[in-house]
């Protein structure tokens, strides 16, 4: 089905692949939107503290003090002010893209409901933080924003005296009220930080810092823009006039023009409906929830590899309860488990080489067990030393593998490539079930299960337990990391592997004759 989500997913994927190719996956900003959000927050915090020191919190001195900061000290205060504004705007941009991206990649429901739900207050708090910031400059824009916002708030009728009456005339606005606004602009961002911290509580190894080079490039770019196009005020506020034309910050104030078009009730209705829809999204159909991973204590020795590798903090080590001589055992919280199978691929007891038809392993997916996986491999390859074909292990979130099937390759689909224990590759090649193995995972900057691609690469490279044994002939193995818009690269990788295997086939008999 081609719905809006798959269109958006393809669009994100196309941009990602372009950036991966030019900048490399580790510098791709689209893969680090959450981390960039945090980075922008810190820029805003530091520049905000700098600006607050010379800022005059009285309504009569505020404008002049901001002007002094901007012009008398253009190289320091002026730059700080620009950083403060542009990083705040960048935070909105990063947040909206991040939200759209998580949605497009279907990473917002099931066990991810917590991250999604806690993102919603983050969104609100960010907007309130930014909007209150614009009041403080007390220029024409501040006047427009303050009056429009308080008229909107007054519709709710929760404040006895209309807030907008504070802005009726110059003598109506007191220093005390203005100081209250300054206080809001400090308190709300602190709540925002707290909400951002809660937002990460269920994610293991969240990426909260962009890689250094990306951070440096971002900061340098912001400094350059701040010098080239400093943030300026729009003339002092004057309550005896209407600020007829204002330069809006479209990141924070996008909806303000609606206030002039719609009644306040409709605006609140729109905001409420949007918020309720966001909050409800993780629980809207279609529901598909695979069963959580299960631990088989008889196999588990409490090594903790599954705990290290689980992207969702769903496995923990708890004290041993069955009397066997290990200190710990693994325990799965089914409420957190996304059934990605990464733990199964990580467990040292997951090996397809056993003789028994039911393979026992320390941790397994009931619906996609190790036994199921071996049976799939045997079914797809025919289970004999057929030798000449290519067997692909493909993540079901990666590029479409239809073309591989047409090209004659066998394809085994997995919820995540890292569900595959590396010994499975050894199994396929040493039993000559296929001549070559192609591993098809998500694009490096778009791994559906966040850490699957990274773990699989490290296992193949021998840098992470359980690693792919040295005896596995690397020339018969190829990997390709490809998102939905990258089906072409998958087939190219397949053809390349095929060609390499053809070369080996000529040499192989000689080797066999020797051994």
């Amino acid at each position: 089905m081609i719905g809006p989500r798959s269109v958006l997913r393809r669009a994100f994927d196309a941009v990602d692949r372009g950036l991966d190719r030019t900048l490399g996956p580790s510098l791709n900003p689209m893969d680090r939107l959450g981390a960039l959000g945090f980075f922008f927050y810190w820029i805003v915090a530091v520049s905000g503290i700098y600006l607050f020191i010379p800022f005059d919190t009285g309504v009569h001195g505020a404008y002049a003090s901001v002007e002094r900061i901007t012009h008398a000290q253009w190289y320091a205060g002026g730059v700080m002010r620009s950083l403060h504004r542009y990083a705040s705007d960048a935070m909105v941009a990063a947040m909206l893209l991040h939200m759209a991206r998580e949605w497009a990649h279907d990473r917002y429901r099931g066990v991810r409901w917590f991250s999604w739900l806690t993102g919603v207050p983050v969104l609100w708090l960010l907007y309130v933080s930014g909007i209150t910031g614009y009041w403080l400059v007390w220029d024409k824009l501040a006047q427009y924003v303050a009056i429009a916002s308080s008229e909107l708030l007054d519709w709710l009728g929760v404040f006895g005296e209309p807030v907008a009456r504070n802005f009726l005339a110059p003598d109506a606005l007191s220093d005390r009220f203005f100081t209250l606004l300054v206080f809001m602009h400090i308190a709300v961002p602190l709540f925002l930080l707290f909400a951002m911290w809660i937002h990460l509580q269920r994610i293991s190894r969240p990426k909260v810092n962009p890689p250094r080079a990306l951070a440096a490039a971002t900061l340098a770019a912001m400094l350059a823009v701040s010098l080239w196009r400093p943030a300026l005020s729009q003339g002092p506020a004057d309550l005896t006039t209407v600020p007829s034309e204002v330069g809006l910050d479209w990141f924070y104030l996008l909806l303000y023009p609606l206030i002039d078009l719609w009644s306040h009730g409709w605006i609140w209705g729109l905001l409420a409906a949007f918020t309720v829809m966001l909050l409800a999204m993780p629980w809207l159909p279609p529901f598909r929830r695979a069963r959580a991973a299960e631990v088989t204590l008889a196999q588990c020795n409490g090594c903790g590899r599954c705990v290290d590798d689980c992207p969702y903090n769903a496995v923990t080590l708890v004290p041993r309860r069955d009397g066997r001589p290990f200190s710990h055992e693994a325990q799965v919280d089914p409420g957190l488990c996304a059934a990605c199978g990464i733990c199964m691929g990580a467990c040292p007891t997951s090996t397809p080489f056993r003789r028994s038809s039911a393979l026992a392993t320390g941790i397994d997916l009931p619906e996609r067990s190790l036994t199921w996986l071996r049976e799939r491999v045997l079914a797809v390859t025919g289970g004999t030393k057929s030798g000449s074909g290519v067997l692909a292990f493909a993540c079901s979130h990666a590029a479409d593998t239809g073309a591989l099937v047409s090209a004659g390759a066998g394809v085994v689909q997995l919820p995540c490539v890292a569900m595959m224990p590396p010994s499975l590759i050894d199994f396929v090649l040493s039993r000559e079930l296929a001549a070559g193995v192609l591993v098809v995972g998500c694009a490096e900057s778009g791994c559906h299960h966040r850490l699957g691609v990274a773990w699989m690469r490290e296992r193949i490279a021998g840098a992470r337990d359980p690693y792919l044994r040295a005896r596995v002939p690397r020339e018969r193995l190829a990997t390709v990391w490809a998102g939905p818009s990258d089906a072409g690269r998958v087939i190219a990788a397949h053809d390349e592997l095929k060609a390499r295997l053809a070369g080996l086939a000529v040499a192989a008999p000689a080797r066999r004759a020797v051994s």
């Binding site: 900003p29 542009y86 427009y144 005296e161 009726l168 196009r229 006039t241």
Partner: protein, 167 residues
């Protein structure tokens, strides 16, 4: 691609993104109010006369109360509505009956209304009744003003200053 080139490209991408962001931070301009229009804002927060609802107590009512609490009049807790009318250049601008605020209807009646009017000379006639009477008004006012474009002309109601005041 060499790492130096990658870093340079990353900087270029972030520079383009930040420049776009900076541009949208105060542009394009938004016209919130037509250039040749002025604005008249009528706003007040006024507790109407509670005594207007008072009446003499009946003998029965007085008999029920302890002697030290017997007062010759009884007054309702809630305040009457405030009725306001405004005419601009002889044409009706506003006709409203505003109920007293507060849960028990014992708080001030509140008004906050904005009107866009062409710049130039205007006559504003204002009438207000705060005693709950059905006919006539307790306060009236007339203001003759020459409004400049984008001027914000605010009229408040302050009985202590004699009624309608321009602010």
């Amino acid at each position: 691609m060499s790492p130096a080139l990658r870093y340079a490209l990353t900087f270029a991408v972030m520079l383009a993104a930040t420049a776009g962001i900076a541009a949208l931070s105060d542009w394009p301009l938004y016209r919130h109010h037509p250039a040749d229009m002025a604005q008249v804002k009528l706003s007040f927060s006024h507790g109407s006369d509670r005594k207007a609802g008072c009446r003499p107590a009946t003998a029965e009512e007085l008999a029920k109360l302890p002697p030290n609490m017997r007062r010759p009049v009884v007054c309702p807790r809630d305040r009457p509505s405030v009725r306001i009318e405004a005419d601009l250049d002889g044409r009706p601008l506003l006709r409203a009956e505003i109920r007293a605020g507060g849960i028990a209807g014992d708080g001030p009646a509140r008004l906050y209304r904005k009107f866009s009017v062409p710049a130039g000379p205007h006559v504003l006639d204002l009438r207000l009744s705060d005693t709950g009477r059905a006919e006539g008004f307790d306060y009236t006012g007339r203001m003759e003003v020459a409004l400049a474009p984008a001027q914000n002309f605010v009229v408040d109601f302050r009985p202590a200053e004699g009624g309608f005041v321009a602010r």
